[in-house]
Assembly symmetry: C2
Homo-oligomer: 355 residues x 2
C-alpha cells in the first residue's frame, strides 16, 4: 500500500498544504512544534478513520475554522488507485471513498493500512497494564473482526456487572449468570491474545538473533497473566468481587510481561533498551500483517529514535530497509539515514505552529 499524496485543509496547525510521497523512504524534517506529528496523525486517520491522539474530532480542526478536510490519493495492494476525502465539522465526520459516501467507516481498513511507531510506544513496555492491553486490543481489533466482536460483548457484560456490584443488595444469581457468560468470551479473547504474543515473541527473538550481533544473550520470554481461568474457585471469586465491589477477574485485568535473559524488561532495563524493545514490538505488527494478512502496510515512524545510541540507531535504520513505504519524522535531517543509499524524499515542515 502507498499514500501517494495528502492534502490537509484547516487540519491542526495547517491552513492548506499538500504533500507528495515517494514509494519508499520519506523523511519529514522540522523543529519541535511545526506539525510533523500532525501530518502523521492525518495519514493514520486514512486507515483507522479516527485520530490516534484524540476522540474529539473538533480538536483536529484548526483554531478559528469550522470545517477540516483530509484529501488523499492512495494505492492499495492490488495497485488500484483510490481517493479518500475525510471531512469533519461540529456535526460529525464524513468519509468519501472514490466519490462515494462510506457508511461503515471501518471499511477504510480494507483499503489502507498503516503501522504507527512512535516515541510513546515505550509505554507498552514501561507503562501500566492498560497500555499493554491497548497494544493487544488495538492491533487485534484492527485485524480480527471476531476478536473485535468478542471484546465489545465482553466490555458490555463487564459494564453491567460493575453496575450490579455497586447496588446495595447484590443479586448473587445474576452475578453468577454474568460470570458464566464472561468465561466463554474471556477464553476466546485470551486465546487470540496469547497467539499474537507468541508470534511477537518469536519475532523479537529473530530480530535479536539476526540483527543484533553485539547482544550476546538473547533469550526472550513473554508471559501472559490472566486473572480468570479454569482453576479459579468460582465461589471464592464471587465473594471477593462482592467484598471489593469491583470486577476483579477477566481479560480487562490481564497483563503481560516481557523477560529478557530471565530479567523483567520493565524493572531491569534502561529507557534506551525499552525503547528498542518497543520498536521491535511494533515491527512485529508489520510482520504479522504481511505474513498472516497478506497486507503491506505503510510504516509511520514518529520520533521513535530518541534516546538510542548510535549503534542501535544504525541497526534500527537497517530494520526499516524493506520495500514498504515509510514516512519518518525527525528534528535533524543529518542524524537519520545518513548511511543509507536509497533515494530519500525530504519534506521540510515549517509552519510556525503552536510555539
Amino acid at each position: 500500500m502507498l499514500v501517494n499524496s495528502i492534502e490537509l485543509i484547516n487540519f491542526r496547525n495547517y491552513s492548506s498544504r499538500k504533500f507528495q510521497f515517494n514509494n519508499n523512504l520519506n523523511l519529514i524534517i522540522g523543529n519541535n512544534g511545526q506539525g510533523k506529528s500532525n501530518l502523521i496523525e492525518a495519514i493514520q486517520f486514512l486507515s483507522i478513520s479516527k485520530s490516534i491522539k484524540t476522540n474529539i474530532s473538533l480538536e483536529l480542526i484548526k483554531s478559528g475554522c469550522i470545517e477540516s478536510s483530509i484529501i488523499a490519493e492512495i494505492t492499495d495492494d492490488d495497485s488500484f488507485k483510490n481517493s479518500i476525502h475525510i471531512k469533519f465539522n461540529n456535526r460529525g465526520k464524513q468519509i468519501i471513498l472514490n466519490n462515494k459516501l462510506l457508511i461503515k467507516s471501518s471499511d477504510l481498513l480494507k483499503t489502507f493500512n498503516t503501522v504507527y511507531i512512535s516515541e510513546e510506544d515505550i509505554n507498552i513496555v514501561s507503562g501500566s497494564p492498560v497500555e499493554r492491553r491497548r497494544f493487544l486490543d488495538g492491533f487485534l481489533t484492527k485485524t480480527d473482526f471476531e476478536y473485535m466482536d468478542n471484546l465489545k460483548q465482553f466490555k458490555q457484560i463487564i459494564k453491567q456487572k460493575s453496575k450490579l456490584l455497586k447496588e446495595e443488595k447484590i443479586n448473587r444469581d445474576i452475578l453468577v449468570l454474568y460470570n458464566t457468560k464472561l468465561i466463554g468470551i474471556n477464553k476466546i479473547i485470551i486465546k487470540k491474545r496469547r497467539k499474537f504474543l507468541e508470534y511477537v515473541k518469536e519475532n523479537i527473538q529473530n530480530y535479536l538473533e539476526n540483527k543484533f550481533h553485539h547482544i550476546k544473550n538473547k533469550k526472550v520470554e513473554i508471559i501472559y497473566t490472566n486473572t480468570l481461568n479454569n482453576e479459579n474457585d468460582e465461589k471464592e471469586m464471587v465473594n471477593k468481587e462482592i467484598k471489593y465491589r469491583e470486577c476483579l477477574y477477566g481479560a480487562h485485568r490481564d497483563d503481560f510481561s516481557i523477560n529478557f535473559q530471565e530479567k523483567n524488561v520493565k524493572k531491569y532495563m534502561s529507557l534506551g533498551q525499552k525503547r528498542l524493545i518497543s520498536f521491535i514490538l511494533k515491527l512485529s505488527e508489520k510482520d504479522y500483517l504481511i505474513k498472516y494478512k497478506k497486507i503491506n502496510p505503510v510504516i509511520l515512524v514518529d520520533d521513535a529514535f530518541n534516546g538510542l545510541d548510535d549503534q542501535t540507531i544504525k541497526i534500527t535504520e537497517e530494520l526499516l530497509q524493506d520495500s514498504l513505504q515509510k514516512i519518518v519524522t525527525t528534528t535533524n535531517k543529518n542524524k537519520l539515514f545518513s548511511n543509507i543509499n536509497s533515494e530519500i524524499n525530504e519534506i521540510e515542515i515549517k509552519e510556525n505552529a503552536t510555539i
Copy 2:
C-alpha cells in the same frame, strides 16, 4: 551542595566502581543499557534515601549478590564534608551518616538535596492526573513537612472512607464525619499545591520571556481543578459517593492543566514542546529550593534532551549554565554541550550490563 565521589558495590549492574565528580558539569557518556541511569539513581538515593525507580530494595542488588552498598562523600551548603554509607540486603536498609547510624532516613534530605530531571518527566504534562499529583506531592512532601503530615492523614481517612463505601449497609453518619475531617485537611493541601503552582507558572513565564526569544506568544496559565470545595452540595456529594461506592471528592482526585496561548498543552502541543515544558517545570523545583529554602541542590539530568530540536537543545543547555553541580547522562558526547566553554568532567561508562 556537591557530591564529590560515589562508590557503588553490587548495585544494579555495578560490581564495584568509584566515580569522582567536579563541582560543575559532569557528563556521563555511554551506550544504552550500560548503567548511566543506575548511577543517577544511586546519587538520588543519597538524598531521598530511597530509589526513584522502585520501592523494592532487593531489585537494586546486583543479581547473584546478597548485599549492596552506596558510599559517598558529599559537601553540604555550609561547606561541610559528610560521608554517607547506605547498605541494603534482604533484611532491610541501613543508612550511616558520618559513621553514625541514622534512625530517621528522611534526615538525609537535610544534608543532601537533588533535583532529578528525566525523559520520563514528559508524563507530568502528557500522562494521567496521577502523574501530575505525583509531581506536586513528590516535591511538596520533600520540602514541606506540614504538607507531608497532612497528606499522610488525608490518605488515611480516604482509605477508611473507601472501606466504608464498600460495606453492604453504609453508615451515613460515619461518612459525613469522615467528610467533615477531610474538608479541613483538603483545604491545607490544596492551598499549598496552588501556591507552588503559582510559583511554577511565574517561573515558566520568566524562562519563556527571557530565554526563548524565537517564541512570540508566551502566555502561560496553570489551572488547578479541585473536586472538593466550599460550593459542593454536601448531601449531593454523599449520595453520589454512595451510588458509585467510591471516594469521588478530594485532593486525591484533583488535577492541573497547563495552557499555553490559551491552548491546552496536553492536547495541542507536540512531544518536543511537551518535553521542553516539563523540563522547565522541573527547573522550577530547583529555583524554588534556592529562593525559598536557601538550598543549592545537585541537578541530575537523565536523558532529558531527547526529541528536542537543535535550537531548543542549545537554549536548554544554556538554562543549565549556573554554579550548581550538574550530572548529565548522554549516549553521545558530541551531541551535548559542544558550545559550552566551562570545564566538563567526562565519565565514560561501559559495564556491558543487561543487554
